[in-house]
Amino acid sequence: MTARLRASALRLGYGDAVVVDGLDLDVPDGKVTAVVGPNGCGKSTLLRALGRLLRPRAGEVRLDGRRLDRIPTREVARTIGMLPQSPVAPDGLTVADLVMRGRHPHQNWFRQWSAADQEVVTEALEWTDIRDLADRAVDTLSGGQRQRAWISMALAQGTEILLLDEPTTYLDLSHQIDVLDLVARLHRERGRTIVMVLHDLSLAARYADHVVAMRDGRIVAQGPPASVFTVELLADVFGLAALVVPDPATGTPLVVPLPRPATRMANQAV
């Protein structure tokens, strides 16, 4: 397994709080990696450090063997794309304008637009199936459309590595599947390396090649979904009593939470 992006002995935090400590991670090239773990375990913080949005307190992130914080920002932005959890676009910005912004790291003051940019943007819009929305304002889109527009922008950035922080949050199940299918296609047809934070464990198992389970700022287990999603690990990481059965559709692990005694009694009482 090769890894262009690696973190070692990483310590991350905000203000006085240390969120992640002593974390090592090799992001497998050309694979889809899902980061899972309970709220507040440092998943998003880790992703922000991998995307150079957060400077490590200690340890380092390296891209192709070079320390991330020593590489010029624009160069990083041409290799690593990052979609934050709830990105904010200004009112009135059209979808086409948003996706065009993805070309920013490839442009400079005197070459703000090129034929190549135009092709990439068109392709990104088509890939995400939002060509018809090109002239709509982003703030008028539905949640699913908006998320596809942002992914389209990240796509137009043309990076080998794509970091997605909870790309399916706030979406209904069918739109979650849309977004994840898109991610899977990106990986399959473009060979992109993708790291995404996901909350739905069964979907993570279905779409990821590699799963990283975190708790309290540390990696507790990592590997193929089948090796990570075990009854013991779910109890250990999430404090969740669950069955793990093969997904009838795909054969990947399906996590079925067990009803808790108190809940069952409450249900019966109703």
């Binding site: 922000r48 995307g51 150079r52 949005l53 920002t73 624009r74 160069e75 990083v76 932005a77 041409r78 690593i80 794309g81 990052m82 979609l83 934050p84 990105p87 904010v88 676009a89 200004p90 009112d91 009135g92 910005l93 059209t94 086409a96 304008d97 065009m100 912004r101 993805g102 920013h104 790291p105 442009q107 400079n108 003051w109 005197f110 070459r111 703000q112 637009w113 090129s114 135009q118 092709e119 943007v121 068109t122 819009l125 060509r131 090109a134 002239d135 703030d139 950035q157």
Partner: protein
């Protein structure tokens, strides 16, 4: 099958040598119309006064003709004043467009950067302490504006500048500085206080070439810089994480925009005092006329020149025996127009 390439609606690709960018067709139309209107207002305005000159003769004089008396009135008396109005309007509006974009706040104006209040304190202090005749007023205003802006920037710094925090700190510092202005006004002799009040309302009356030259020189540098920052502004209008993941070094980029905005506002305020409302309202008008997601810098500058020159014309001609401060008129003219646009375009307020 590759269908037509997508291009944002109403955009044209512009190439000049190695330079290539996209320009919105609507902005070109609005900008051209604004320039034409500004030129018309300027010509009419130069002709108005106790010695009336027909617009055709004004153009004649500007092109090098005219009688001796006409040349004296136009070139020495009225042209400096109208140029000051044009330049002040352009500088304030461009400064406002930059400020509103990088703070992502449509209510922001260079006032929140501390420039205007600082300049007021500097100017009023000199008027009250050294007497109204002192030629140091513009310099004191410039110094006051720059010192206050630096103070706001430093106080707002907390491992970087955050637009929202900057606005809050700017409002706080503004209040303190404003109370300094009031203190000087209360202490002042009545004549000086009246003088200071005229300055505080913003006025281009009595502007001469000595005032125009430094202002024009400043704008010759700053306006192109402001337009050039548009490339960075495109990325700065997102939240910090998105901006940085687009490869923008956030703090240097923000500092460059703040410096440009402060310098533009300081140049304008030291020449004419705080002309109310221009920096705040003109970028929003330009945004609504041109469409898009942020106020266009160049069109804002053109419309700012138009608003202040038209306001100055109105200030000089509305009342027969006395002049109104231009800042009063910009507010009277600008506010209803913005309200009308807000009602008509049914669009959420945004920077």
């Amino acid at each position: 099958m590759t269908a037509l390439l997508v291009r944002p609606a109403g955009r044209r690709l512009v190439r000049a040598g190695r330079l290539s960018t996209t320009v919105s067709a609507r902005s070109v139309v609005v900008g051209a119309a604004g320039l034409a209107a500004t030129a018309a207002v300027a010509v009419v305005s130069i002709g108005q006064g106790s010695f009336t000159i027909a617009p055709a003769d004004v153009v004649d004089v500007l092109l090098g003709g005219g009688t001796g008396a006409q040349r004296l009135v136009v070139l020495d008396l009225r042209l400096p004043r109208i140029l000051t109005a044009l330049l002040v309007g352009a500088a304030l509006a461009a400064s406002g467009a930059l400020t509103q974009t990088f703070t992502r706040n449509p209510l922001a104006s260079p006032d929140v950067l501390g420039v205007t209040n600082g300049a007021s304190l500097g100017a009023v202090a000199v008027i009250v302490l050294a007497g109204p005749a002192s030629g140091a007023v513009p310099l004191a205003a410039l110094a006051g504006g720059l010192v206050a802006a630096t103070l706001v920037y430093l106080l707002a710094w907390r491992r970087g500048i955050d637009g929202y925090r900057l606005v809050l700190v700017g409002l706080g510092v503004g209040e303190i500085v404003q109370s300094g202005v009031s203190w000087f006004l209360v202490r002042a002799e009545i004549v000086d206080a009246a003088r200071a009040t005229v300055w505080l309302n913003g006025s281009v009356a009595g502007a001469d070439w000595a005032q125009v030259r430094p202002l024009a020189a400043a704008l010759a540098v700053l306006l192109p810089v402001a337009v050039a920052t548009s490339f960075t502004l495109q990325a700065l209008q997102f939240d910090d994480d998105v901006t940085r993941s687009l490869g923008v070094r956030l703090q240097p980029a923000r500092l460059a925009v703040v410096l440009t905005a402060v310098a533009l506002a300081a140049a304008a305020v030291s020449a004419a005092g705080p002309v109310e409302f221009v920096a705040f309202v003109v970028p929003q008008i330009a945004l609504r006329l041109c469409g898009g997601s942020r106020p266009p810098v160049l069109v804002s500058a053109i419309l700012g020149a138009l608003l202040v020159s038209a306001a100055d014309l109105a200030a000089r001609t509305t009342l027969p025996d006395r002049e109104l401060p231009v800042g009063l008129v910009t507010a009277i003219v600008g506010a209803p127009y913005l309200l009308w646009l807000l009602v008509r375009t049914n669009r959420r307020v945004s920077a």
